[in-house]
Every structure is written in structure tokens, then in C-alpha cells.
Amino acid sequence: MDKQLLTEERFEIDRLTILDCSKLRFYKDEANFISLDYNGESYFNVRLTRLIPFYSKTTYISVAYDNADNEFCEIGVIRDMAELSEEQYKMIDEYLEYKYYMPEITKVYSIKDNSRGFIFVDMMTTSGRKTVCVRDWYSNFRMLSEKLLYCVDVDGNKYFCPDIETLDKKSMQVLEIFV
């Protein structure tokens, strides 16, 4: 009886599926969402996710979809987007750049602390100059590694600088007190 019970209680184990890039065919539907044909199956509106967004933008991309019960189903993982054809690479890259829209910080002019947990950062980004308000800045304006600066403003917009050492001297002086 016990043995039978134990046998019944065996669960399916999820394993990492690395996708064969030569068989992937992503296409955009009319609404600009990305769908996929793979191994004879069609998947509508697939969800592409950078698994290590801060370390790599083009490797380890999860491809998933929601089934009829709104459950997360992963089709597999693209190990390196470079294995895709040029046209497919472009399509996926555009989608990911959209999803992970995150202007890069190229210069920091000034940081003002209002002494109540907020700072106002005046900076130049790849989307133009802006002054952003950061709440609880000890958590939301910080180094994720020795070089990578990550900033989330009060609205949830994200900014980053991949290597603060590449910034000019004045920016570094402004940043020094805060990071």
C-alpha cells in the first residue's frame, strides 16, 4: 500500500531545455507581439526574459508562454542569441530592448539630498538629460558590483551605468559620496 502511494506521488521534474536556434522561427503578429513556431508547435505571444539582465543582454534568454489556465510554461532557453539568424536576432533584440528599456547614465552633474531619504540626481542619459527623484536611495541608487551602478527612481524607471570608472572625473566626484 505504502509503496503504491509513494509511486503515485512522484512528480514530473522540470529540466533545463536549451533551444535549438536553427529550429526557432519567431514572427511578429499584427499587434507586434512575438509568436513562435518550434518543433511543429505554435506559441502565441511568447514571453522573452533575460535571465541575467545585468551581466548579459544576449545570452540565456528564457522563452515562455502562458497556457490556457494562465500558468507559466517555459519552452526553453536560448543559450546565445548569436546562434540565431540575423533577421531573427534583430527581431528578438528589438523586443528585448523595448522590454528592458533602461537608459544608460553617461554623466552625473549633481546629486541633492533632501535629508528625508530622497535624492535628486541630475544626470545625462542615453535618453537625454533628466533629474530623477530616488526614494530610499540606500537601496535604489547603488552599486550592483564594483563597477555597475543601478538606479530606480520613484516611478519605477530604471537607469544604469555599466562601468562608473568610464565616467568623467567630475561625475566620479559627485558620485563618490553616494556610492
Partner: protein, 745 residues
């Protein structure tokens, strides 16, 4: 909330109901776009040119989807037809979400609301998030706030007056001392006058008396200040706490528990110390500054000007220096905090570190954190020691000017300035010194004022908030029998986003009803309405034929018992927790209730029996034990209506079975309403109420509903499918993955 924010180039706001700017379009490129809504259409503009137009009913539903770094507005027809209408950075998310809700409301109810009724998410003046406040605490009128604050001193006016009076008198006496010094120097010390011992003794006596009076004034001041401060603090905390408990759930849910705790304790404490320390000191310091200035100018206005003129420039420089030093010490605090976190992590996780053999890596991490802290502290100290003496010197530079020019006057080398005696110079220099004390203090005042004004706005917002669920003047205390009826009930946490739509059903007394439906179908909302945590938007909920808005909240809630999924136990003993809802229960009644709830057995095994302290939230007990205490509490409460909201959802099957017995005892002969995710838990229910997307889909017994093959049938089937065990299929090992552990047999 204002939803007319930006009209397209060459167009006017008057053309649209709503007009919002968006900044991303195709390929995440920056654009200058506008999304405008008219009575019949959604218009998408790029650079002032119309790009797309959609009739409002082009899609069944509109929604805002948050991506990682931006968001988009999407139109949907079912699950498979969706279109991205425009995209924007997250600062516009709330506005777009609001527009989507309004259009969705139009699509379901046929009414296009022209104005949003939610509060602005950000202060239009300073741009800081409002976080549920109706008025920005940083921009609120400081005079208005402080007059309200000082108004709270009224009951303690005599004591406050004593404190102020004592401090003013002490300041006056302080001004007299340099004058006595001057007479001593000029009349007795310099001329070496030994023939007037009596006068000399009288002056010494006067100084001694001043010392004694000053000591007495200090004592009286301290006593009166403490009295005012402690009582005022207590009043503030109590009022904020009372008001917080009195507020409706919709007001409470806008604020986090941490925020409310802060307002009750930290903000009230800040105001307490501000009023009694800074409030009193502000009066005294300004007074003292004026007195000293008047004396100095009347003694010698030229010397007084030398002392005063540099002050404004010096203050500006010193303020900047203060800010720099503050930043450096802020940095030290941050590194020290990071160091503490690392230490906390490493010591708490020491077993993991040892079992993984990562001691060396952790030691290195600690070394780096510790070194960063030490370096930042050294740098801050260097900056402090370099800057501070210079800043302090600059602040008191007037003193040196007065000494230099005063000495020249003493020696008669500065004819234009007149002459001075040694005693007069000593007296003047003492006053210059007394000028800097209030000045240094006043430099800190703006910061203290700003802090206190923010705290005051937060506290007064709670104190002045009108609770929206309150007892009518003609409300009654009802002896509840247990018949409940929902009559065409509409309710939404946002008025145009109803969670319950046209729900009508009857719940008969003494019977058990189960409410089932998908997550978000409105199950818990129905219960919230029965408890009158919220008032219905439309329709009514009646108990024994009486609208619950006409029943006093105390009477209603004292006759409804609730057992939730997560039981909250208060700090205290098992006994105190069981008697929480009926403090006058006898001990025998408590044991009786505990026995019915199957709690007595485990309580007797606890070291101190019913006197065992269960600690914060009852974490010393298991989930099942906590739940049994909650059931005992509900049994003792002897309610007419019982609500079980996922009461056994977090328990294992065996514990659930035991608790179910307790629950069955509790529910006997009472109206019972149960929500359970596990549909099998509701097998005892006399009837089931099935909700689907906020509407009443079906009612009936389990068998009737299964035969109908409707929403309930689909729910049961879906649940059976997900709970069905899946046999392990041989999997192809994928490339590059580590071998997964074999399933246990």
C-alpha cells in the same frame, strides 16, 4: 487626478476628455507622442500628427502592462487578440492605468466618466510621491500646520508659560552678569580700590544670588517643560492611535503598517520634543538675541556693527560646510550599515558557510566591507578636522574684530571710534560671545522646522481625516438571528472598477454557505461587506431585514466571528488570546471553548499551561495550534454569524481534519459563510455561492451544481486536474544542464 496633461502640437485640451503624453513607440525609440480620448475614440499622435485611431469599443478591454523598464497600454479582445497602443516610461503608468479603467468602465456600464476620482500620485509642486497623503507633507503651509500644533499646547498653557518665563528670566540674568563684571573691573580691580570693601562684597553677593536664582529657574523650567512634553506626547500618540483604529479599511489600506506605526510613535515623538524644546527655545533664543543686540548697539554701535556685519556671509558659508560634513558622515553611516548587514548575514548563516566551506570567501568579503567603513570614517574625520576649526573661526570672526578694534579704543589709538574702559571691553566681548550661541542654534532651526512640519502634516492628516464608514445617528443595536441578504450589490475599491457586480443572494440563518470562484472573483470582498469594513457602492446588504448601515458597527461585529487563514495572536498568554473577544469570560468557559476547538490538549502540554506566553504573532506555536486558539476564541465569542476565510488552507491534511472537527462544533446552528480554495473543504456546505468575475454565476448544492456543468463544474474539474499526480516520464537530458536529482521512490 488630472488626466489632461499634454495636448498634441497644434491642438487644444478642449478637444479631448483625456490627453496624456507618451514617450516610447516602436523599437523602444523616444518619441513625442500623445494619447487622447474623446467621447467616441482613442487617438494616438506622434509629433502632432495622428498615427492611429481606435473606436472606444474596438477592444473588449484595455490594460496597462508593466514591462521591466517601461510600460505599455494594450487593447485586448479575448486571450488571443491584443495590440500595443503606445508605450511610455513608468512615470506615466498611473495616469494611463486610470484612463484604461475609465474606458473599461464605459465598455461595461455604458457611462464615460469625465473625471478621475483618485488622488494625484505625486505632488504637483515638488514632484515627490504623495504615498496616499491628500496634501504633500513637504509643501503643506508651515504656518497653518504650526498654528495647529501650538494649539495643542492649550491645556498645558500655565505650565508652558512657567517654562518660557523661567528661561526668559534666566537669559535676562545672564545679561546682567557681564555688567557686574564690568563694574568690578572698572571700579575695584583696575584702580586697586581697597577702601570700599562693602561695595565689592555687595557685587560678589549679587553674583552669588544670580547663581542661586539661575539654579532655581533651571529647576522650575525643567520641571514645567517635562510636564508639558510628556503629557503632550501622550495626548498626540493616543489621539493618533484612536483615530487610526477608527478609520475605515479603505483609508487604512492606503497606508502601510510601518507608516502608521511611524505616525503613532516617531512623528508624535518628534513633535513632542520639537514643541517643548525647540518651540520654547525659539521664543527664548530670539528674545535673547534681540536683548543682546539692543545692549551692544546702545553701548557702542560701531563695535556692534563690526560684530554683526560679517554674520550673514559667514552663515551662508558655514551652512555649506555643514552640509558637506553631513554628507561625509552619511557615507560613513552607509558603510557601517553595510558592514553590520554582512556581519548579521554571516553569523546567522554560519551553518551554511561551514557546510559549503566558504569561510575564506566570507572572511574576504568582511575584510573589504570593514576596510571600506574604516576608510570612509577616516576621510570623514579628516574633512571634519580640516573644515570645522576654520568654519568655527569664521563664525566667530566678529569676536576678533571687536577685540582688535576694542583694544585700540582702550589704548586711545582710534579716535574716530571713541574710547573704552577695560571693564566695558570685557562686558562687550561677553555680549559678542552671547550673540553667537543663539546664532549657532538658529542655523539648525530651518532643518528642525522642516522636519517637524513634515511630521505635523502626517499626524494631522490622520487626526483630521473623516472616516467614510461610520455609524448613522439612528443606527440600532440589533440582536442578530443570522439571515443575510445581498440586494443588487455593486462594490469596487475604485468606484468605476467594480469587484462585485449586481450580486443578489440570500443566506439563511443556521445554514452553512460556501463562496467559491477564481482568485479575484470577489469572495473576500463579499465577506468584507458583511463585516462592513467597506460600504457598498450600490444596492444593500441586510441582516434580518435591516440594512447593515443602520446597525451599529459595535453591535454588528460583536456578533460576527471570523477565523482567517493566517491567525494573528497578540503578544500575551494563551489565556489572554482566547479571551480577547470576551474579556469577562470565566476560566471554565475558556477551557470549555479550548476543548471544543481541540486546543486544550496541546495547551496543557505547554510548560505554563494557559499562562504560556505565545510571543509576537504567536510564532512559538505551529500553524495548527495558532488556528485552534483562533477557533477557541471564536467559540468563546459565541457569534451568531461565522466567517471562515480559508481557515484551514495552510494546514496539512491531518491537522485540517482535526481542526475541521472543531469548526463543525463552532458552526453548529449558526449561519456560516466559508471561503476555501480546496473545494473538498466545502463538502459540508448546505449551499454554494459561485462567483465569476464579480458576478453571481450560480447557487446550489454541490450535486446540483455538478449536474449543471457550469462555472462550479469547471472549477472542480480544473482543481482535480492540477491535483492529479503526474507520473515521471523519462526525460531527455538536455545539453549543458547539470544532472537533476532522481525522483524519490
Amino acid at each position: 487626478m488630472n488626466l489632461l496633461l499634454s495636448a498634441p502640437k497644434g491642438h487644444d485640451f478642449a478637444e479631448y476628455l483625456f490627453a496624456l503624453p507618451f514617450n516610447l513607440y516602436g523599437k523602444a525609440k523616444k518619441v513625442d507622442g500623445n494619447l487622447c480620448v474623446t467621447e467616441s475614440e482613442i487617438l494616438v499622435y506622434i509629433d502632432g500628427e495622428i498615427k492611429d485611431r481606435y473606436p472606444l469599443d474596438a477592444y473588449e478591454e484595455y490594460a496597462c502592462e508593466q514591462l521591466v523598464g517601461c510600460s505599455m497600454m494594450v487593447g485586448r479582445n479575448g486571450d488571443r487578440d491584443a495590440k500595443c497602443i503606445c508605450a511610455f516610461t513608468n512615470d506615466s503608468f498611473v495616469a494611463f492605468a486610470e484612463v484604461c479603467k475609465i474606458i473599461n468602465h464605459y465598455l461595461t456600464a455604458g457611462i464615460l466618466v469625465h473625471e478621475s476620482d483618485i488622488d494625484e500620485p505625486k505632488c504637483p509642486k515638488c514632484g515627490l510621491p504623495l504615498d496616499g497623503y491628500t496634501e504633500c507633507p513637504y509643501c503643506a503651509s508651515k504656518i497653518k500646520t504650526f498654528s495647529k500644533l501650538f494649539g495643542r499646547l492649550k491645556p498645558y498653557a500655565p505650565q508652558f508659560a512657567v517654562a518660557v518665563g523661567c528661561t526668559v528670566l534666566a537669559e535676562i540674568l545672564n545679561v546682567v552678569s557681564p555688567y557686574i563684571n564690568r563694574i568690578l573691573i572698572d571700579d575695584y580691580v583696575r584702580p586697586q580700590n581697597t577702601s570700599h570693601w562693602l561695595g565689592f562684597a555687595a557685587l560678589c553677593g549679587a553674583m552669588f544670588v544670580i547663581l542661586i536664582i539661575n539654579t532655581f529657574l533651571d529647576w522650575a523650567n525643567m520641571k514645567a517643560s517635562r510636564y508639558v512634553s510628556l503629557n503632550l506626547g501622550q495626548d498626540l500618540r493616543q489621539d493618533v492611535f484612536n483615530k487610526t483604529l477608527d478609520l475605515s479599511m479603505s483609508s487604512i489600506s492606503k497606508k502601510t503598517a510601518g507608516d502608521l506605526i511611524n505616525r503613532v510613535s516617531n512623528d508624535a515623538n518628534k513633535l513632542q520634543s520639537f514643541l517643548t524644546d525647540y518651540g520654547k527655545d525659539a521664543i527664548v533664543r530670539v528674545f535673547s538675541l534681540l536683548v543682546v543686540l539692543v545692549i551692544m548697539f546702545s553701548m557702542n554701535y560701531k563695535l556692534a556693527l563690526l560684530a554683526v556685519v560679517p554674520i550673514p556671509f559667514v552663515l551662508i558659508i558655514v551652512k555649506k560646510v555643514y552640509n558637506t560634513i553631513h554628507m561625509y558622515y552619511g557615507r560613513v553611516w552607509r558603510f557601517s550599515n553595510a558592514h553590520s548587514k554582512l556581519l548579521h548575514d554571516a553569523l546567522n548563516g554560519i551553518r551554511v558557510i561551514k557546510t559549503c566551506g566558504t569561510e575564506e570567501a566570507e572572511i574576504e568579503k568582511y575584510r573589504v566591507a570593514s576596510e571600506k567603513w574604516a576608510k570612509s570614517a577616516t576621510k570623514a574625520e579628516i574633512v571634519w578636522n580640516l573644515i570645522w576649526p576654520v568654519a568655527d573661526f569664521m563664525l566667530t570672526i566678529g569676536n576678533y574684530l571687536v577685540l582688535y578694534f576694542g583694544s585700540l579704543m582702550l589704548l586711545g589709538r582710534l579716535g574716530a571710534f571713541g574710547t573704552l574702559t577695560l571693564g566695558e571691553l570685557t562686558q562687550f566681548v561677553s555680549y559678542v560671545g552671547m550673540l553667537y550661541t543663539p546664532l549657532r542654534w538658529l542655523m539648525q532651526l530651518p532643518r528642525q522646522l522642516a522636519d517637524a512640519s513634515v511630521s505635523a502634516s502626517k499626524v494631522f492628516e490622520i487626526l483630521e481625516e473623516h472616516t467614510d464608514v461610520r455609524d448613522d445617528a439612528d443606527c440600532v443595536d440589533l440582536d442578530i438571528k443570522g439571515d443575510i441578504e445581498f440586494n443588487n450589490v455593486y462594490f469596487g475599491y475604485n468606484i468605476y472598477n467594480p469587484v462585485l457586480k449586481d450580486v443578489s443572494c440570500k443566506i439563511e440563518k443556521g445554514k452553512m454557505y460556501g463562496i467559491v470562484g477564481h482568485s479575484g472573483a470577489g469572495k473576500s470582498t463579499m465577506i468584507n461587506l458583511i463585516l462592513r469594513l467597506y460600504d457598498v457602492t450600490q444596492g444593500s446588504v441586510t441582516i434580518d431585514g435591516v440594512d447593515i448601515r443602520k446597525i451599529s458597527q459595535k453591535s454588528l461585529r460583536s456578533q460576527v466571528g471570523v477565523v482567517l487563514q493566517e491567525t494573528y495572536l497578540f503578544e500575551g498568554t494563551v489565556l489572554e488570546n482566547i479571551t480577547y473577544a470576551k474579556p469577562d469570560a470565566t476560566f471554565e468557559e475558556v477551557v470549555e471553548a479550548a476543548k471544543i476547538a481541540h486546543a486544550h490538549e496541546f495547551v496543557t502540554k505547554l510548560p505554563d499551561g494557559y499562562n504560556t506566553r505565545v510571543g509576537n504573532k504567536g510564532h512559538t506555536l505551529s500553524g495548527g495550534e495558532r488556528q485552534r486558539i483562533a477557533i477557541a476564541r471564536a467559540i468563546l465569542h459565541d457569534p451568531k454569524i461565522i466567517i471562515l476565510d480559508e481557515a484551514t488552507a495552510s494546514l496539512d491534511t491531518e491537522t485540517e481534519r482535526q481542526i475541521q472537527e472543531g469548526l463543525n462544533e463552532l458552526c453548529k446552528g449558526r449561519t456560516t459563510i466559508a471561503i476555501a480554495h480546496r473545494l473538498s473543504t466545502l463538502s459540508n456546505a448546505d449551499s454554494l455561492i459561485v462567483l465569476d468575475k464579480g458576478r453571481l454565476a450560480e447557487t446550489g448544492t454541490h450535486d446540483q451544481l455538478m449536474r449543471q456543468k457550469g462555472v462550479y463544474y469547471a472549477l472542480v474539474m480544473a482543481q482535480r486536474k492540477t491535483t492529479k499526480m503526474k507520473a515521471v516520464q523519462p526525460q531527455q537530458q538536455s545539453a549543458a544542464s547539470h544532472p537533476a536529482p532522481a525522483p524519490a521512490n
